[in-house]
């Protein structure tokens, strides 16, 4: 491994070491953390005992739940990308539109999902579609907001170019607004990608029909006081979030980084 790579890894490795140290500290300092009968961890298992109590049936359940949560998050994220971008462009089209739509967006963002639960169940039923809907609600705000910001930040001289060319509205949106807002779109996508995973897990807690996703499995292990599998499931949920975040970063690297040098 090269010296520069080692140098780059130093800070993340240090932070992981601190995290593991704190984890051990927490596991062994909590009162009554270990059951006296079999010595299993009740609240927080120490890292080296994390995988105790994982049998093939549990692993299979976690794998299935991961697939379901990934499918929910991905479907929700794709819909959020389409809706969020379209809404951002729509708001950018006129200040009056922005003023009319923006308060509703904020209201939707800050309203607790539980308030909407009965309405969502009524419209989508209590299974996959409802969880996707929650994911969309949670994930689309950064996209709409960042696309709007991207269009609003277009320099006047670029706008003038398209006026001088006599470009139509559609040409201006296609050739100026969309590419110019890509850097901020991808910044929003990284946030939304993480939020989509959170949305899919949160949705699991409210809509319990159909196959269980990671959220429902976490809840199941929690009620069953199986802290080991619960933490493994939570860890996998974090890894899925990382993967989504990294994928968004990779897309940015492919489509924006070659030309965008801020």
């Amino acid at each position: 491994m090269s010296a520069s790579r080692m140098k780059r890894l130093r800070a993340p490795l240090a932070s992981v070491s601190v995290f593991v140290g704190l984890w051990y500290g927490l596991a062994y300092s909590l009162d009554n953390n270990f059951a006296s009968s079999d010595g299993s961890a009740l609240i927080v298992p120490p890292p080296h005992r994390l995988f105790e109590g994982l049998n093939s049936r549990t692993v299979e359940r976690i794998a299935t739940a991961t697939g379901i949560s990934v499918a929910t998050a991905l479907t929700g994220l794709v819909i959020a990308v389409v809706l969020g971008s379209a809404l951002g462009l729509f708001m950018a089209s006129a200040r009056s539109v922005e003023r009319a739509v923006w308060p509703w967006l904020i209201a939707m963002q800050v309203t607790p999902v539980i308030v909407l639960t009965p309405i969502i169940v009524r419209i989508f039923g209590p299974s996959f579609a409802a969880r996707v809907f929650v994911t969309v609600v949670v994930a689309f705000f950064p996209l709409a907001s960042n696309v709007l910001f991207g269009v609003r930040s277009i320099p006047q001289s670029w706008r003038d170019l398209f006026v001088l060319r006599g470009a139509s509205r559609v040409e201006t949106i296609r050739e100026l607004w969309i590419p110019a807002s890509l850097p901020s779109f991808f910044a929003g996508l990284r946030i939304s990608a993480g939020l989509a995973v959170i949305g899919s897990i949160v949705g699991d807690f409210f809509f319990t029909r159909g196959d269980a996703g990671l959220g429902r499995l976490i809840n199941y292990f929690f009620l069953d006081t199986r802290s080991g599998p619960m933490f493994v499931t939570a860890l996998i949920a974090s890894l899925v979030g990382f993967a989504f975040f990294a994928a968004a970063g990779l897309l940015r690297k492919l489509f924006v980084d070659p030309w965008h040098k801020p």
């Binding site: 003038d160 170019l161 006026v163 001088l164 110019a180 030309w259 965008h260």
Partner: protein, 235 residues
Amino acid sequence: MFNITSVSHSYNHVPALADVSLTVAPGEIVAIVGPSGCGKSTLLRIAAALLAPELGEVKGLEARPGYIFQEPALLPWLRVRDNASVLAGSSADAHFVDSLLERVGLGAHRHKWPHELSGGMKMRLSLVRTLAARPNVVLADEPFGALDQITRHQMHDELLRLHAEQRFSMVLVTHAVDEAVFLADRVLTMSPAPGRITATSTVSFARPRAAALRYDAAFAALCGTVATTLRSASA
């Protein structure tokens, strides 16, 4: 020929331009010099129909005049070749665009991104982008202000060569008196805001103008005259 007749404009009730009239003949280069904030750029934006004047009118100007901005204003997501065709749009003549890029020394850089170019190369690309649309009139708003002196002189020579070939009319706004005298047939001096044209100096040096003209005594004398006019207009 195009005319700007009795144009006035203000921003938030603060007058920026007052009763400015200007006629530019085909193939003529008119330079406008004046202190900062005297309304030079406003006049150019009005001429290009990027801004509607409060009073007055612009006549005889084609629907899409060429326009060179203070900064190169290149679109960073387009490579050099595509940036060169942006103003010409779908009607861009590929051979013509390529020949212009070759002419200004960007032929070998056509597949590069704008961030890979130097400041001078970016400005040359901006010039090519404007001329690729084959405009009859070019409006240039302090296009060389950010360049170092050597690059600026190279750009002047480039511009005059292209002007000799294409014979477009041009209105050039600049802070640099020597630039105005070297490039233009007439130099107009504007007063501080609200901008008015206070003096006209005719530049009668023959074309094509060689780089050596900059060291000519008559050139220096005319620069001195224009600078004096400018100082008295600003006083």
